[in-house]
């Protein structure tokens, strides 16, 4: 029981880490900053493990109360931590993968801050990273919708800060404004989702009278169905924002502007899964309204398919992974939409492993290329080091090729991750994806169709990526001269690869440890173990292999030469162009929403605010009235009356003085006469009056 009380430390360790890094990070050098951050994250991991162990003994979990927060009328929201199997699962994923990524980032950022020529930002990065861990922990450990929302907003903020990390001028000509715009886009799009989430929170309070999970979820049946429908659909809007589903996914590809560890941690493993966690947490609510569930499932399935098509046509290594993330999130959302909460959570965990591995691996590839490019630059013009680099995009797959020879280790771990993503047995991805497909086969055939098609495309673009990057011959100088990354980067990769290999054991069919684990929180009804469907598994594996073969035909048999157009383009023509341009969704949004909004804002600002309020109301009406009044006070009142009084007094004084000065003749005799007159008068008075 005591271990449960330690749960606030999962937040406190990262907070202490970030405060220390913010205060003295610059002074203690890179080693010190990294050490503090990694230690904080590791501390969080240790506490999470302790919670796991404690939960194994007491599976029902606990609510650890910290302090009172809001107590207004009927609304009573305390700072409380909920330690149950669902939240601890998330805690383990976040802190585990997070710590590995912290270690990776310690090495990666060392090079990156030098390429961006801003070594002072090293500490700042780790401040933000620890802040993210803290916020994410608040999200998953909260005991009420409001504390969850606090974490929700917190991770949104960290996403903004980290995407736009290189907001200042970069030496390769990028003015950094693109990074800021990407960060702004992420924030704004997420805002729309948050709006939906907030509506759901308000409705929950109105319907249930409380925001705590314990008081809302068990009573899901007692509230009118249309209310639950509204709540769940509004929540779905939040999920589409945070977990990058249709229609609010557009921020995730742009978010790749941030450093690669950020993409790995936030936009693959943890933050984007917050939506899935939310749905899993609110399982009773979704289960109460089957129509909402269907909606969620279709949103997820459509997103999975749609994003997979875009991933096929991308050239940037990270963009492929970004759309892949969106697609896999679609899998998860479809799973929880169909009521397969365990399957969704299982895929969340395995996806965290292989997606983080893939992102970090791509980071290693990019780093290798950049280093080679940097060496090439200094060798070719050693004296003009400051002149700026020639344009070279280390993230473009078209300048890579044949990298399996120079960077062997990265190649192997990347391949493991890629195969896991494609769902090849016996890697972890196979088991989780298969469980979802098996559930879809039973629940909703249309969803199954979309998901299997997405799985096919997944395997295809994974193969395409592997072949373009690692096979064939180098298509540029830096690709030829690439060097393997140092141990601090490759060791986390190896660890993640190991997790991908053995991750399937988490919920092995027939044994179902994870299902049993989550059943303690979700209840037996919602956490039914899925029967292993051999047919579906076989079908999925065969599709994946066919997709690999197709990829080999296009990209492996005749490897892509330098500056050659993508061979798929000739085959699919216009369709491929659509895939390349992400189906022009961003342009569509700009035409539909952004431009009219900007025009409206401009109208409000210029016409109404400036011309009307400022020019007319303020300048003409108010100022003139004021001036008239001031002039009135100044001229008639001040000059006329008050000055008149003052001047009048002075004039009368001078007049009196002038009159009296008549007496001052200067003649002594006059003075004597007057004195004598006075004497006589006085004497007369004294004499004749007594």
């Amino acid at each position: 029981m005591d271990a449960f009380n330690l749960v606030p430390w999962i937040i406190l360790f990262p907070v202490i880490g970030l405060v220390l890094n913010a205060a003295i990070g610059r002074r203690i050098g890179e080693r010190g900053s990294a050490l503090i951050a990694i230690a904080a994250s590791a501390g969080s991991l240790v506490i999470s493990v302790m919670q796991y162990l404690a939960l194994s003994a007491h599976p029902e979990g606990a609510v650890v109360y910290l302090a009172d927060w809001i107590g207004i009328g009927a609304l009573n929201v305390p700072w409380a931590f909920r330690v149950d199997t669902l939240s601890v699962t998330m805690m383990l994923v976040v802190s585990g993968v997070g710590t590995l990524i912290h270690i990776y980032a310690a090495g990666y950022m060392h090079f990156d801050v030098r390429y961006k020529e801003d070594p002072g930002s090293y500490a700042r990065f780790f401040v933000y990273l620890n802040l993210f861990i803290a916020a994410m922990m608040i999200l998953v450990s909260g005991d009420s919708y409001l504390t969850l929302f606090v974490g929700w907003e917190g991770v949104g903020l960290c996403s903004y800060l980290l995407i736009g990390f290189w907001y200042q001028r970069n030496p390769d000509g990028n003015k950094g404004i693109m990074n800021s715009l990407a960060a702004k886009k992420a924030m704004l799009v997420n805002r729309i989702g948050d709006f939906g989430f907030l509506l759901a929170v308000f409705m929950i309070f109105w319907a249930f009278g409380s925001l705590n999970f314990d008081e809302v979820l068990p009573h899901a049946e007692t509230v009118a169905p249309w209310v639950i429908m509204f709540i769940t659909l509004a929540m779905l809007l939040g999920v589409t924002g945070k977990s990058a589903q249709l229609p609010l996914y557009v921020w995730l590809p742009d978010a790749m502007a941030g450093p690669t560890p950020v993409s790995a941690l936030i936009h693959a493993a943890t933050m984007v899964t917050a939506g899935v966690y939310l749905v899993a947490r609110s399982a009773p609510l979704f289960a109460a309204v089957p129509a909402a569930q269907t909606t969620v499932a279709f949103v997820g399935a459509l997103t999975a398919f749609f994003a997979a098509t875009i991933a096929v046509g991308q050239y940037d290594i990270k963009k492929v992974l970004a759309y892949s993330t969106i697609s896999q999130l679609g899998f998860m959302v479809a799973a929880v939409g169909m009521g397969a909460f365990v399957a969704g959570m299982f895929h969340l965990v395995t996806h965290a492993f292989f997606k983080a591995l893939l992102f970090l691996g791509s980071g290693s590839v990019i780093l290798a290329l950049e280093r080679a490019h940097h060496v090439q630059e200094t060798l070719s013009n050693p004296k003009h080091k400051k002149k700026g680099h020639t344009h070279f995009d280390p993230q473009d797959m078209r300048v890579m090729g044949g990298l399996r020879k120079p960077i062997r280790l990265t190649f192997w771990v990347y391949t493991i991750g890629a195969l896991g993503l494609a769902g090849i047995p016996p890697l972890a991805g196979f088991f989780s994806k298969d469980e979802i497909l098996a559930d879809a086969w039973i629940e909703n055939p249309l969803v199954f169709l979309l998901l299997i098609a997405a799985a096919f495309l997944t395997a295809f673009y994974v193969g395409r990526q592997l072949l373009l990057v690692f096979f064939g011959s180098p298509r540029s100088q830096p690709a030829d001269k690439a060097v393997e990354s140092p141990a601090i980067i490759t060791i986390p990769l190896i660890a993640l690869a190991a997790l991908v290999v053995i991750g399937g054991l988490i919920n092995l069919p027939g044994w179902h440890p994870f299902t049993n684990w989550l059943a303690h929180t979700l209840g037996e009804e919602l956490a039914e173990p899925t029967e292993f469907n051999f047919f579906v598994a076989l079908l999925a594996t065969v599709f994946a292999l066919i997709a690999f073969y197709l990829a080999w035909i296009f990209y492996g048999r005749t490897p892509l030469a330098e500056k050659q157009v993508d061979p798929l383009k000739q085959r699919l023509g216009r369709v491929f162009t659509g895939m390349e341009n992400k189906w022009w969704v961003d342009e569509f949004y700009a035409w539909l929403i952004v431009r009219p909004y900007k025009r409206f804002a401009g109208f409000l600002a210029d016409t109404i605010d400036w011309k009307f309020l400022h020019d007319w109301v303020h300048d003409s009406a108010v100022v003139n009235t004021f001036r008239w009044f001031a002039r009135f006070l100044a001229n008639p009142v001040d000059l006329g009356v008050i000055d008149g009084i003052a001047n009048g007094l002075a004039k009368s004084a001078t007049g009196l003085a002038r009159g009296l000065s008549f007496f001052q003749t200067g003649f002594v005799r006059n003075y004597a006469l007057v004195t004598f007159l006075g004497v006589v008068i006085m004497l007369g008075y004294l004499v004749f009056s007594s």
Binding site: G666, F667, L673, F676
Partner: protein
């Protein structure tokens, strides 16, 4: 015996004449002499009263008046001399610099 009131009357007449002199004459020295006449009249009055009440204090006062008068005359004449050096005249009508 002479009634004391006759002395009072004489003193009054002399005082009035002195005052008239101050007011009428333009010569500064004559005016000064009229002032001395007035002082003298006052002395006479003092002595008459001293005699009437048989109190010697009256005569003591006269003694002091005479001493002060002497000092006053000295200073006043010194002033007149100083003014004469500047104005070259002792006509008091010409000393109207304090005219407002």
């Amino acid at each position: 015996m002479v009634p004391v009131s006759y002395y009072f009357a004489l003193s009054a007449i002399l005082f009035a004449l002195g005052a008239l002199g101050v007011l009428i004459r333009r010569n500064a020295i004559i005016i000064f002499m009229s002032v001395e006449l007035m002082l003298n009249a006052a002395n006479l009055l003092f002595v008459a009263f001293a005699r009437m009440y048989e109190a010697l204090q009256g005569q003591i006062y006269v003694f002091f008046v005479i001493a002060v008068a002497a000092a006053e005359v000295a200073v006043g004449l010194a002033i007149i001399v100083a003014i004469f050096r500047t104005k070259k005249s002792i006509d008091i009508d010409e000393m109207s610099s304090l005219k407002g």
